[in-house]
Amino acid sequence: MKPINCVIEGVRSEAPLIRTFRLEKNLDPAPGQYVMIWIRGVDEVPMSFSGPDTITVQSVGEATSALFGLGAGSTVGLRGPLGNGFVLQGKRILLIGGGVGTAPLAFLGEQAKEAGCEVASLLGFRSKDDLIFQDRFESLGETIITTDDGSLGIHGRAAAGLKELNLYDWDQIYLCGPEMMMWDIISRTREHAQKTQACINRYFKCAAGICGSCCLDPDGIRVCVEGPVIMADRLLESEFGRYRRGPTGGKGPCRG
């Protein structure tokens, strides 16, 4: 489809470099799905939904800082919702998120709670100033927070909070955050990989499953259309957590 025009109805600051943009259009996304946001004259980039009509964005580069220059009443182009989102499984679900990656999990948790699920969350942030959506997660159920600098909750990365939880208690685990944080969780909880849905990130160009820039070694999974939510057992023996391809298609290190 061509990009559809969409008015930004409101902008809210969540943390120093994180803002939520409320869109005029409700595209009826599933949590974990994404939308290609065209900042006209700049670039088109993928963004996860943090609610039915919101995206929550961390400013990391040219396109996102251009987006931060847009206020209520500005317009963007949208393609989406795209990809396969999280699938709700079971009655007791655990959300594990890091940084801005907690955004689609808050959205998922709210839908799950509505559907009658028990929800708990383990959330990692750099420091207490970077915390987002604390209220949203706390209203869903038990919430464990970790900070890298120890300024709030457990001192350490998200995986440091695993000792507070018995993963066998949970029917399904939902994971989203920086790649090394997710890899840290997946590689420490291998026996639960078959019930862990991970929302991952690769370099998307076409977002239509044909250009090949987001393909994951060794099976060539097209993350833009077959993901971005992928079962963790498929990630264990993949490039995930080891390397990732950038805009040229060349391999580089994973971040975060």
Binding site: K2, T75, G77
Partner: protein, 300 residues
């Protein structure tokens, strides 16, 4: 089942349906997946001498009758790609490396350095400054680039032609004079789309190339003209989405057919098309060879 194997431009193919350049060709794994899904051969993403990030987004726009793209030749450079080709070659079908440059010596340097089953010279990308159709619309450059690569390589060389020209046969004849083992026609048609809400051209690069169903009749005409004038085989590409399209392209004179935009439906297209062709040949009691160029033999 009738045999689908063909000898096309110096390659032995188990079937004539190939993955086109620029489609799912960035990694060995994605090329391998196409091979395992039934492609008779696969063409890599175009490789140049330096890493390129490509154009800013949007890089594609879906239009009513096809797809517009301006990826901008993103690639990690040929120096960082042999490993991906090797992975793909382990999957049992010929791997054709698509290469681009802005002058003959740049092409031949890449061809000398890469190991692949064949090369496809990208003299036809319509949206990258100093590359592709900016060289490929001049018959003398097509001839000299082809000649230079032939002289520095001992595998088959195919030349992918641009339809953005008054006479594609001139370009095909130039490739043939340069010693090409085959020509591939057509690359995308130069095109654009504008956002009527704001007036912005939608593609980050403003211009791009149109592919998909809209260009199939143009591609069929180009293949027909080329096949009737050239001695070397023609590989047909442009808007092939179903087995009927492939049959039409073969009747126009194509020895093999490449599929690109239709991969939007997934890797299953290879099996759909090859099965459809086999059933058709069986029903008509025809061979691929009898089918090839049938339209030209029907007279005018």
């Amino acid at each position: 089942m009738p045999s689908l194997s063909v000898h096309a431009g110096g390659l032995e193919l188990s079937n004539p349906i190939l993955l086109a350049a620029g489609i799912l060709g960035t990694t060995g794994a994605s090329l391998c997946r196409a091979a395992k899904a039934g492609a008779g051969g696969v063409v890599t993403k175009s490789l140049g001498s330096l890493p390129r990030e490509g154009h800013p987004g949007p890089t594609i726009v879906q239009v009513e009758c096809g797809l517009l793209n301006a990826m901008g030749l993103p690639n990690p450079s040929y120096k960082d790609f042999q490993d991906e080709i090797d992975k793909a070659r382990a999957c049992g079908v010929p791997v054709i490396a698509s290469i681009f440059g802005s002058f003959a010596a740049e092409f031949s340097q890449i061809a000398r350095s890469l190991k692949a089953d064949a090369f496809e010279l990208n003299l036809s990308c319509p949206h990258a400054e100093k590359y592709g159709s900016e060289l490929g619309r001049y018959p003398d450059l097509v001839e000299s680039v082809t000649g230079a690569v032939k002289a520095s390589s001992n595998v088959p060389v195919w030349v992918k032609l641009t339809p953005n020209t008054a006479d594609i046969v001139e370009l095909g004849l130039a490739a043939q004079r340069g010693g090409a083992d085959g020509v591939v026609a057509i690359n995308t048609l130069k095109a654009m789309a504008i956002d009527i809400e704001t007036g912005y051209p939608i593609l980050g690069n403003r211009f791009g190339g149109l592919s998909g169903p809209a260009i199939k009749p143009v591609a069929v005409r180009c293949v027909y003209e080329l096949a009737s004038r050239l001695e070397i085989p023609v590989i047909g590409v442009g808007g092939i989405a179903a087995w009927e399209d492939a049959i039409e392209m073969i009747m126009a004179g194509a020895t093999a057919v490449q599929v690109g935009t239709a991969l939007q439906r997934g890797y299953g297209v290879f099996e759909e098309i090859t099965t459809g062709i086999a059933r058709y040949l069986e029903r008509k009691s025809l061979t691929l060879e009898e089918l090839r160029g049938l339209a030209g033999r029907r007279g005018s």
